[in-house]
């Protein structure tokens, strides 16, 4: 593989891996604290992307304000999903499978609400309207101002989230709730408040991921759904419990989808159309060979492993 191609694919890995990490951490957090594999997470991403698109079309071009809008809308979508659907179902003590199906249903509803919105105002496949500037160009490698926003922002948010979980009283209570829910209740942790806060954070980060994604590609109602299997693959690589494992998993998935795929294409003429199969292969392989993912390897005090 020519070095220029390799470099480009590694840059893509870094960029996409950071976005996957931002989304996959939300999956890991909801699974640990709420015991819920939330497939509607995909639509929190899309909702954030549309919030970012609309506010940018309205003339707000400051990336920070755009991301703030995406955070608010993603957070609201997540909190409302919890209050209107997941919480009432949990109070009826429904099974794990009912909750998974409910998360698919919420995702479907949100997705088609976004379709309605996009159809009414002709908002399909538009890019968030921040002016594009090329910062660096060599051969096929192009680094834009959007890359300079997306990667550091994702990394910073991942870092802040880790800090929140490991150093703040709220994070401690979230981990306590993930670890032993009945003891958490007995010692007086305000379980509902902690859950609401968790949903706001998870949804907000998904929304920001959507905005960053929409700055680099284009916004459409299916964008979150298109990424969700890769994102779940990353979370499963983290054992759905380990934070550091999830972050590592996100980069492994992005590396496989970009660099390894490109290598297979270049060396063995494997068609690039096989790319979507990669996360499925990763999920199946992990579940068969090492269901705990990276979590046991990276175990530290701060992880969410039960």
């Amino acid at each position: 593989m020519p070095p220029a191609l390799l470099t480009t694919s590694l840059v893509n890995t870094l960029q996409i891996g950071s976005l996957y990490a931002l989304m996959a951490l939300g999956i890991t957090l909801t699974f640990s604290v709420m015991k819920l594999p939330n497939f509607a997470h995909a639509e929190f991403v899309s909702a954030g992307a549309y919030a970012a698109l609309i506010i940018s079309l309205a003339g707000v071009l400051n990336p920070l304000l755009i991301m703030a809008a995406a955070f608010v809308i993603g957070a609201l979508a997540a909190l409302l999903s919890h209050l209107l659907v997941f919480k009432p179902l949990e109070q009826r003590q429904v099974s794990f499978y009912t909750l998974i199906l409910a998360s698919f249903a919420i995702g479907l509803i949100l997705r088609y609400l976004l379709f309605l919105l996009a159809d009414s105002f002709n908002l399909f496949d538009l890019r968030i309207a921040i002016p594009l500037r090329i910062l660096f160009r060599q051969d096929s490698l192009i680094l834009s101002n959007l890359f300079a926003w997306a990667v550091p922002t994702s990394l910073l948010l991942v870092f802040l989230l880790t800090l929140l979980l490991n150093r703040s009283p709220l994070g401690r209570e979230m981990r306590a709730l993930a670890n032993n829910p009945s003891l958490a209740r007995v010692i007086g942790i305000p379980v509902e408040r902690v859950k609401n806060a968790t949903w706001l954070i998870v949804g907000g980060l998904a929304g920001v991921a959507g905005a960053l994604w929409g700055m680099q590609t284009a916004v459409n109602p299916l964008m979150g759904w298109a990424a969700i299997i890769s994102v779940f693959a990353a979370a499963i690589l983290g054992g759905l419990s380990s934070f550091s494992g999830t972050i590592l998993g996100a980069y492994v998935v992005a590396f496989s989808e970009n660099t390894i795929m490109l290598f297979l294409n270049y060396s063995f003429s494997l068609d690039l159309a096989y790319k979507p199969a990669i996360p499925f292969i990763i999920i199946i392989a992990v579940l068969l060979i090492r269901p705990q993912g990276f979590s046991a390897l990276l175990r530290r005090g701060g992880d969410l492993k039960r």
Binding site: R172, E173, N179, L183, G301, K305
Partner: protein
């Protein structure tokens, strides 16, 4: 302090405690003894609202507890240390202790933590360790410390010495005596009667869901019939 009247309780449709009446005195260290299946743990869970109560009454200082949620009961100052899953094993020892102090006013926390480390010095040395890696005795001490940090007036403990070596169990009972000395009322369920009777003040012996004996720890130890008949010789 806590009065149980004509209590019938169990799990699902199964009645284990049968028309049980007894009362625990304020400031006392009481042991609840009896063979397996006699209803010792069922009594604790009934007080905490964790199982099915078919009839009767449980009152804390005259206030009825039956029908209240577990969180509400623990907010009244009753701490419960179950036999298993009584710590946050994925968090560090220090984080466990910090979580235990949630119910205390902020300005009390530093002194409460200091007092805890005086009662359980080993926990101070294990502060940054993951709680799941503690030894059996340290694990029980942490569970007791978490419960005590919630500033309870009454503590219920379900077999705190289960699975511990005799010397370690003795350490646990000594620390319970220490807590009693600091004004906490203690109710402890135990399998090993002879061992706890050397540390507690008062004993209740249950058999098949009914009260078979009650009296001071000394009287219980001297009552050969109770010891041999209901408790086995340890």
């Amino acid at each position: 302090m806590i009065t149980v009247q004509n209590l019938t309780a169990g799990y699902g449709k199964l009645e284990i405690l049968q028309d049980l009446s007894l009362s625990f005195a304020h400031g006392q260290f009481s042991a609840v003894l009896g063979p397996n299946g006699s209803g010792k743990s069922t009594l604790m869970k009934a007080i905490m609202g964790l199982n099915t109560v078919f009839g009767g009454a449980i009152a804390l200082n005259g206030r009825e507890l039956i029908g209240s949620a577990t969180e509400a009961i623990s907010a009244l100052g009753i701490a419960y240390v179950p036999q298993r899953e009584n710590i946050f094993d994925e968090l560090t020892v220090r984080e466990n202790l910090q979580l235990g102090m949630r119910r205390r006013p902020r300005e009390q926390r530093a002194s409460a933590l200091q007092e805890t480390l005086e009662i359980f010095p080993i926990l101070g040395r294990r502060g940054s360790q993951r709680a799941g890696l503690l030894s059996g005795g340290e694990h029980q001490m942490l569970a007791i410390a978490i419960a005590w940090l919630g500033a309870p007036t009454l503590m219920l403990l379900d077999e705190p010495s289960a699975g511990l070596a005799p010397a370690v169990a003795t350490d646990v009972f000594r620390s319970l005596q220490d807590l009693r000395g600091r004004g906490i009322t203690l109710i402890v369920v135990e399998q090993n009667a002879r061992r706890i009777l050397r540390y507690c003040d008062y004993a209740f012996v249950l058999r098949e869901g009914r009260l078979a004996f009650e009296g001071s720890a000394e009287a219980c130890l001297q009552d050969e019939e109770t010891i041999k008949g209901y408790l086995g010789v340890h």
